[in-house]
Each structure stands twice: as C-alpha cells, then as structure tokens.
C-alpha cells in the first residue's frame, strides 16, 4: 500500500458516531465528578478502591508477622517492631477493611438497586461518610506507620493508658473518627430499608442480602457509640489524667474491656452478616433454585444481631469475671450459634438437588460454608468456660477468628465481587482464572490457619514472636500457606482490572439470576430505574423449587 491508499480509505470511512453510553460510569467522566458524587454506585466504588488499598497494606503487615514467625528466636524484628506490626495489621484489617468491606462497597452499590430506589435515603450523608472514613483511615495509618502503636487492636488499659510508648492517642482519635463513618452508613441503610422500598417490595420480598445488611446496620448504629465512648474515656485518661480505669485509684481496667467488647463482639457480626447475605444470593443463583426457608434466614439475621449484643463477656472468662457471669455469657454464646446454624442448613437444603453450576462465585460460596462451619464450631469450643481455660490467649483463638473474619467475610466479599462484577462494570472476567483463585484461596487459607489451631492447642501464646523450637515446623507451614493465600489475593486484582478493558461485555443478566438489580442494564443507568418498578413477584422465583421429601 502506498501512503495515498491510506488517504483514499480514510475518505471513504464515514465520520465515527461516538456512542457514549448513558450509564453511571460514563455519565460524567471527569475525576472531579467522582469526588463530589452523591450516586450510591459511585460511592460504593470509591469505597471499593480505598478499602482494597488498606487491605494490601494490612496484608503486608500480616506477611511480615508471618515472616518473623518462621524462626523461633524472634531475630528478624525487635520486640517493639513486632508489636507494632501486629497492631498495624489488626487495626487496619478490622476498621479499615473488614467493617466497611461488604456493606460499604456491595451494600452501597446494591441496596437501592435491590429495593427499587433511586438512591439511598441521604445521598450527601453517604458521601460525607466516605470523606470521614478516608480522613480517619489515612490519619490512623500514617500514625501507626510513622510513630507506631504497640497495644494490639484491643487497646487494653492500663497498657494503653500508662505503659505504652507508642502514638496511642492519635490512633485512638482515628478509631473514634472512623466510628462516625460507620454510624452514618448504618443510619443511612436502616432508614433506606424502612422508607425507600418500591411499591410492592414488602419486607418478605426483600432479597436476603438486604436483610443481612439491615441487621448489620442496626449493630453499627447501636454498638459503635459504645466503642466511641470507651475510646473517649481511654483518651482523656491518657491525655488529661481524667482517671476512670486507672487501678492506682481503685479504677477497674476490666470495665474498659466490658465497654470495648460490647462493641467488638457485635462487630464480628457486622463482618459476618453481610457475608451471609451474599451467600443467600450466590447459592440460589447457582443452584438455580428457590431459597429454602426464606423467613428463617431473614429472622435469623435479626436474631444474630440481637443475641450478639449479650455475649461479650466470653472474652473475659479469665480476666476476673465472676463464674456466674461467665456461665451466662457462655450460655448466650451457645444460643447465638443457633441462628447461624439455621442459615447453614438452609443453604445446604437450597443447594440439594439444584441445577448446580460451579462458576467462580459458587466456588467461593462452597468454600465459605466449609470455613464458616470450622470457624463456628471452634467458636463454640472457646465459648465453653472449661475449654477456654486451656486455649485462652493462644493461637487457637487467632485461628478461630481468622476463620470467621477471613474465611467468612473475605471469602464472601470476593464471591460477591465476582458475582456482581458484571453488574458493576458491565464486563466479564476470565472464568478459568476465577476458578483457580477461588480454589487457591481455600487451600492457602487452610494451610495458613489449620496449623495455628494445633499450635494454640499445644500452648503457643498469641502476640509473642519468640517460641520454643518444637513449634517451628507448624509455624513454617503456616507461613508457607500465607504465600499461597497472597497469590489467591493477587490473581483477582490482576484479572479483574484487566477485564475492565478487555473483558467480554456482560448483558444485563449474565447469570440468569433473579432480583431487581438484574433487570436493569449493566452497568446501571445513573438513576437506576427509568420508572420506579412495582414489585409483583416473590424473591428468588427460580424455576426449581424444593423437591418433595
């Protein structure tokens, strides 16, 4: 071809018609429009990007902790650095990743879509919540990296008020601030669920993901202020000498623990309930079957939220709590396991004889059930006062809550992201890579944390990096598992981002799933629905139903 050929051909081509799609991603493409958006979908994405950043940072800290534990003599880091590392890991993961993980990303994106609303009840408050979150989290992370905090994420007194030489005050201030962000989001969700449902969207037609987030939001609204006040009391005691917990004056440090765990036990359900909501959506879509026992699952979410407020004392069985209180809290902790078990049985019954498709989200869901059952049952062991005496403050506890916080929350988060990714971005990701990552996650996670159960049972205490050489093989195994786990996190980050440009276009409903969010285009238009829909169908009206016994 000669250059003149090019010119000739160019002349023949009609001027391109730029077809700008009218969805929420393309409505206004300037960067500034993202920072002033009140669109719940965009705010969900803002949260997704920011918490992913914090997750990476928290994971690096965890990786360094696991690195230190490869050798028994604790020579890799000094004691001070090690203490700061696990505190950094704990604080970031709890407040800047796990608590906002599912509600503030998927919940923000999906809640109005699922109930047939144009937005959340208070869109500007939603944006404010993100700004508070970003301010508080960046500040706290800076404080913990630059100055360091060595109290652990629990900030127990009098360590935090009298002995710690880290930047405790600044970190505590950051935690108080991030609590306001939680409260605003919880408040927004509660009010939205009550008042913005479309006509015909009755309470028992709500997707169970909405029920999960509703129960979560109730906890956020009612428990977070108690953390706020516990942290304020800690702050003024350390900063101004306004003694409340100070044992030198007859104060009771255990009072701080009561206030702290009154928030921090229910907050475990803040992490788990939205994950359970994701599970209900995944098992129905991929078993292509109506949910088994809708009302049981819905009410068990509320049951977990309610009973979860009365179990906090199981953290103080051996911290000077009376045996009668211990007995009561033990009993309540056993009772709160019942609604969780109800859910697991119902999902199993939903999958039973369904048309099962083992796509990536379903693989995550299957892994979820396995990990949650292990985490839940070991939780019952910890809730019995006698067994807790043996494994209290050991790696057994560490393994248990990682099965819940990672096994249940992170796996559900990843499953949910894979399930709604086509809805959020309009693109499909690579299915083979997705399946590989889901499997790696299950293998890597168990490899990391199963050995820790054994270590704890054999007596290895948590928060020490010097341990008897006999524990080394299991610790090396656990650290090797962490490497596999890291791969399971890195893969999705790569292929999901890749899919944004090169992924196949997804139609409105690539999984043939039910629910209002699948009736709108992918990605959804700016105001979600052209006209507010009237709901005249039951939830999960998949063709397959529960088989006769």
């Amino acid at each position: 071809m000669t250059p003149s050929d090019y010119v000739l051909r160019d002349l023949e081509v009609p001027p391109p018609v730029i077809d700008v799609p009218d969805d929420y991603l393309h409505a206004d493409q300037s960067l500034w429009s993202w920072f002033v958006t009140t669109d719940h979908k965009r705010i969900g994405i803002l949260y997704l990007v920011s918490i992913t950043g914090f997750f990476i940072l928290g994971s690096i800290a965890a990786g360094l902790v696991r690195l230190s534990l490869v050798v028994p003599d604790g020579e890799i880091f000094t004691n001070d650095v090690y203490n700061r590392l696990f505190t950094l890991h704990g604080v970031i993961m709890v407040w800047f990743f796990l608590v906002p993980s599912i509600p503030n990303t998927l919940g923000n994106f999906l809640l109005p879509l699922m109930i047939g609303a144009k937005d959340l009840a208070f869109p500007r408050l939603n944006l404010l919540s993100w700004y508070i979150f970003m301010g508080a989290s960046l500040f706290t992370v800076f404080v913990m990296v630059w100055g360091g905090v060595d109290t652990g994420w629990t900030f127990y007194t009098p360590l935090s008020t009298q002995y710690s030489n880290g930047w405790v005050l600044a970190a505590v201030f950051g935690v108080i601030m991030v609590g306001f962000s939680s409260i605003l989001t919880g408040l927004n969700f509660v009010v939205t669920t009550h008042k913005l449902r479309a006509p015909g969207m009755t309470w028992f037609r709500l997707p169970l993901f909405v029920w999960g987030n509703y129960a979560t939001s109730l906890i956020l609204v009612l428990a977070t202020p108690v953390l706020t006040i516990a942290m304020i009391l800690l702050f003024v005691e350390r900063a101004f000498g306004l003694a409340i917990f100070d044992p030198d004056h007859g104060g009771d440090p255990v009072l701080f623990q009561h206030l702290f765990w009154f928030y921090s036990h229910p907050v475990v359900y803040v992490m788990v309930l939205p994950g359970m909501g994701v599970m209900s959506e995944l098992v129905t879509a991929f078993a292509y079957k109506k949910i088994f026992g809708y009302k049981f699952i819905a009410f068990s979410s509320l049951g977990i939220a309610a009973i979860g407020f009365f179990v906090w004392g199981h953290h103080m069985f051996y911290n000077g709590e009376s045996p009668y209180a211990g007995l009561t809290f033990s009993l309540m902790s056993f009772i709160v396991a019942v609604p969780s078990a109800i859910k697991v049985y119902n999902w199993a019954a939903t999958i039973y004889k369904g048309e099962i498709r083992l796509d990536t989200p379903m693989l995550y869901a299957m892994g979820w059930i396995g990990l949650f059952v292990i985490g839940g049952v070991t939780g019952l062991m910890l809730a019995s006062t006698a067994l807790d005496g043996h494994v209290h403050d050991t790696y057994f506890v560490v393994a248990h809550f990682h099965y819940i916080m990672v096994g249940a929350t992170v796996v559900a988060f990843l499953g949910g992201i894979h399930f709604w990714w086509p809805k959020i971005t309009g693109r499909m990701y690579s299915e083979p890579w997705g399946r590989v990552s889901a499997l790696l996650m299950f293998i890597g996670f168990n490899m990391t944390f199963l050995p820790q159960y054994v270590l704890g049972y054999l007596g290895m205490p948590r928060r020490y990096h010097v341990y008897p050489p006999a524990f080394q093989p299991l610790n090396v195994l656990s650290s090797a598992g962490a490497v596999v786990l890291a791969a399971a996190y890195i893969f999705p980050m790569v292929y999901l981002i890749y899919s944004l440009w090169y992924g196949e276009r997804a139609g409105p409903n690539p999984w043939e799933a039910k629910g209002l969010e699948w009736t709108v285009p992918s990605p959804p238009p700016k105001h979600n629905f052209e006209t507010i829909p009237t709901v005249d169908f039951e939830p999960y009206d998949y063709p397959n139903v529960i088989p006769e016994a």
Partner: protein, 216 residues
C-alpha cells in the same frame, strides 16, 4: 398576624412529600439512638464506680452543687417547652412566633451554659479538680473518689458539647428560618432540629439524677 403556607421541597430520591418527611424523622431518631448508647456507656461506668466505691462516691456527690444542677434542670425543661412552641407554630405557618421561640430556646441554652460554667468555677475554688496536677485535691485522702469526680467532669462536659452544638444549630436555623419562603420549602427541618434539642434535654434528665441525686 401573618401566616404562610407550609411545605417541603421534594428531593429527587423521594416519590412523595410524606415519604421525605418520614425518612428525615426516622433518620434523626436513629441518630438519637446512637447518642443514647453513647451516654449509656458513661452511665454504666458511673454505676460500676458507685458499686465499687460507694462511700467515696457519696463523698463526691456531697460536693456537687445540687441547687445549680436543679435550676439547670428547670431551665432545660423550659427550653424544651419553647422548642415545642416553635415546632407547633412552624406547622401553623406562624413564622415570626416560631423564630422568636427558637431564639428564646437558644437563650435558655446559653443560660444553662452560664450556670454550668459557674458551677465548674465553684468546683475549681473548692479544689474538686483532681486532674489539675498543680492544684491540691480536696478529697486527697480518698483516692477512689477521684474516679467519680473525673467522670462527673466527662459526663457534664460531653453533655455541654452537645448543648453547644444545639445552641449553634438553633441560631443558624432561626437565621435561615427568618427568611421569606422558608416554611414553604423546609418546614420539617424545624421538627428535626427540635427532636435533637428535646433529646439533649432528655439526656440531662438522666445525667442529673445519676450524678447529683442517686448518691446523696
């Protein structure tokens, strides 16, 4: 007396005026629930300290200025009454009465703060400020009494912060609400601010007996 029509401007996420009203109200109530839990953490701490050290707590309570606290209780009840007048007149479209009632509410709030400030000053004079390490503490022979004294300052201080925010809100709102056309567009904001004001008063109704009365 001039009355104006009353209404609210519909925001785009709502379908009807009634829906917007109910949503705003539920939002405020939910927020107040969090506030209640915030203060509950301190009330329970007061109860625990009282159970651990009953004699020390009584010694402190005898130093609290009962009559200032009681007068302040009356001041806040009166302010809540004024707020109710403001809300009721906003519903009826009586803009001028509403604004005056709100200004009176704020003034009573300021009166509360002045009395409270005077009370803190008396505490200082009586050496009831153990956290000021350069100043001798009156009950120095009774170390546990410090806990309750400190808690008294924290609870009343946090309540004072809330009240100051309330006074600020009240002043800003009465300025905004004095403009023409406010009640046609934003009548329900008066009700929302009113809920907050009543609630701070209510908190004081728990603070007063918890600190001043229970331990005498």
């Amino acid at each position: 007396m001039s009355t104006t029509t009353v209404g609210i401007k519909l925001e785009e996420q709502f379908e009807s005026e009634q829906q917007q009203r109910e949503t705003a109200k539920l939002g405020m109530w939910t927020f107040l629930a969090t506030e209640l839990l915030l203060f509950s953490g301190m009330f329970i701490s007061a109860l625990v300290i009282r159970t651990l050290h009953p004699d020390s707590v009584t010694a402190v309570a005898l130093h609290l200025k009962f009559w200032i606290g009681a007068t302040n209780t009356a001041v806040l009840i009166l302010s809540s009454f004024c707020m109710s007048v403001a809300i009721e007149s906003s519903r009826l479209g009586l803009q001028r009465i509403m604004v005056r009632a709100m200004l009176l509410t704020a003034a009573l709030g300021v009166l509360f703060m002045c009395l409270k400030g005077y009370e803190y000053y008396r505490d200082y004079v009586e050496h009831m400020t153990p956290f000021l390490h350069w100043r001798r503490y009156e009950l120095v022979g009774d170390p546990a009494s410090r806990l309750f004294t400190d808690l008294y300052f924290i609870i009343t201080g946090l309540h004072a912060i809330h009240l100051t925010i309330g006074i600020g809100l009240m002043l800003v709102m009465s300025w905004l609400a004095s403009r023409a056309g406010f009640l046609q567009k934003h009548q329900n904001r008066i009700e929302i601010v009113g809920l907050y004001w009543h609630f701070i008063d209510l908190i004081w109704m728990i603070v007063f007996p918890t600190l001043y009365l229970l331990n005498r």
